[in-house]
Symmetry: C2
Subunit: 232 residues, 2 copies
DNA sequence: GTCTATAACGAGATAGAC
DNA sequence: GTCTATCTCGTTATAGAC
C-alpha cells in the first residue's frame, strides 16, 4: 500500500518534471507568451487534458516555471555566497553578483521569464515572492556579515527618504542601518540592469570584455552599499 | 500632378501612422510576440494584404515600432537635458534620469518592447542602433559639460580594464577620460535596472516612495560617473 | 483513488479557393 | 477583397483502465 503510494508519488514527480522540462524548451523556442499546454502534451505523447492532473491551468504551469527559475538562481547565489566565507566582503559580494550573472548567461530564457517583460494576461501570484527574494537576501547577508567584521562605510541618507529607508530596513534587514537597506535595494536593481543589458544585447558593440567589465561594475556596487576592503 | 503626389504622400503617412498606433495598442494587449499583421488590419478595416504596401513584413513593423520607441524616449531625455542647462551637473543628470523613468512609466509596453525580453524569432537590425543610443548620448553630454565647468571627481580604472575603457572612450566620447566612459556605460545599464524593476513589479512590497527612491538612486549614479556638486 | 483518453465547447488564427 | 474549410488554443465533462 505505502509502496504503491511511493511508486505513484515517484511517477507523479517524474511526469511533473518532464512537463516542466518540455515547457522550458518551449519557453526558449517560442517565448512565455506562446507557451501552450497542448504543444507540451503533444511533445510528451500525452493528451492535453491529462496535463490538468498536474497543473490546473496554463498559468499555474507558468507560475511553477517562474518559481523554479527564481529558486535555481537563488540557489546559485547562495552557493556562491557560502563558498567564499573566508574572503573579504567585497570579494564575497562580487562572487554572488558573478553567480547571478553566470546563471543568467546559462539560463537566458528563464531569466527573461522572471526579469524580462511581464507575460501579457498573467499576473504573478503571491507564491512567487519568497523565491524571488532569495538573491536579495544573499546580498543582504553579505552586507550584514561585513558590518560585523570589517565594518561598513558611511552612506548618505537624505532626510526625505528616512521614513522609507527605515521601513525598508524593518522589512528586509532590521539589524542593518536604514541607509544600508536603501543602498542595497538600489544595488540589487542595478545589478540586474547590468545583467539584463548584457543578456538582451544592449552591450553589443559597446562592451567587449564583458567579464572584466562586469567585475568592475560589481565592485563599484559593493562600494555603493558600504563594503570596504580589497577585492582580492 | 505634384499636388496629387503630395496628397498621396500625405495619405501614406497617415495610414502608416494609423497602422503603428493600432500595432502599439496590440503590443499593450497581447505583447510583442503575438503582434499580428492580420489583427492590425482587421482593427483598421483593411485586409491583411493591404498592409504589406506599408510594411513588407511583421518584423519590419516591429522594427518601426522599436525605432519609434527609442526615439520617443531619446527625445524625452534630450528635452530634459536641454531644459536645465543652467543648473548644476548633478541636477541635470537627475533630470535626464527622471525623464527616462517618466517616459517608461507612461509607455510601459513600448519600454518592454525595447528593454524587455527579446521577441522570439526577431533580431533587431542595425537600423535600430542609432535611436537606441540617444539616451546614452544625452548622459555622455551631461558628463562632458560637467567636465568643462565643475570638473569631474576621480574615478577608478583597474589596470586590466584600461584597454576596454580606452576603446569605449574612443567609440563613445573621445574627449572623456577612459574611466569616465567606463563608469558611464555601467551607470547607463544600472539606470535601466532601476526603471525596469519598478516597471515590472520587482519593487512591489519593497519600495513605497518610488519617486524619492529613484531620485536618490539617480543621485548616487551621478556621483558614480564623477559628477560633483549639490543637486539643487 | 489516480490517472489517461475521447470528445466537445467557443474563440481565434490561417490557407486557399473564388 | 471575401468566404470557407481547417487549423490552433485553453478548458471541461465524461468514461474507462489500473
Amino acid at each position: 500500500m505505502s509502496a504503491v503510494r511511493g511508486a505513484r508519488a515517484r511517477a507523479r514527480i517524474e511526469v511533473t518534471a518532464a512537463i516542466k522540462e518540455v515547457a522550458r524548451r518551449q519557453l526558449a523556442a517560442e517565448g512565455a507568451a506562446k507557451l501552450s499546454l497542448r504543444a507540451v502534451a503533444r511533445e510528451l505523447g500525452m493528451v492535453s487534458s491529462a496535463l490538468y492532473r498536474y497543473f490546473p491551468s496554463r498559468d499555474e504551469l507558468l507560475t511553477a516555471l517562474i518559481i523554479d527559475a527564481y529558486d535555481s538562481l537563488g540557489e546559485a547565489a547562495e552557493r556562491a555566497g557560502g563558498a567564499v566565507v573566508g574572503a573579504g566582503p567585497v570579494a564575497r559580494w562580487i562572487a554572488v553578483c558573478e553567480a547571478a550573472r553566470g546563471w543568467a548567461l546559462t539560463h537566458t530564457h528563464e531569466y527573461a521569464l522572471i526579469y524580462g517583460s511581464p507575460v501579457p494576461g498573467y499576473t504573478a501570484p503571491q507564491a512567487t515572492v519568497r523565491a524571488a527574494s532569495r538573491v536579495g537576501l544573499v546580498l543582504i547577508g553579505v552586507v550584514r556579515d561585513a558590518r560585523e567584521t570589517s565594518g561598513l562605510a558611511e552612506l548618505p541618507l537624505p532626510a526625505g527618504l528616512r521614513p522609507e529607508a527605515e521601513r525598508m530596513a524593518a522589512d528586509l534587514a532590521p539589524d542593518l542601518p536604514p541607509e544600508a537597506a536603501l543602498a542595497l535595494v538600489a544595488a540589487w536593481a542595478q545589478l540586474f540592469g547590468l545583467i539584463g543589458f548584457e543578456l538582451f544585447g544592449q552591450f553589443k558593440g559597446v562592451v567587449e570584455d564583458r567579464d572584466a567589465f562586469f567585475r568592475h561594475a560589481a565592485t563599484q556596487l559593493a562600494h555603493g552599499v558600504g563594503l570596504v576592503g580589497s577585492h582580492r
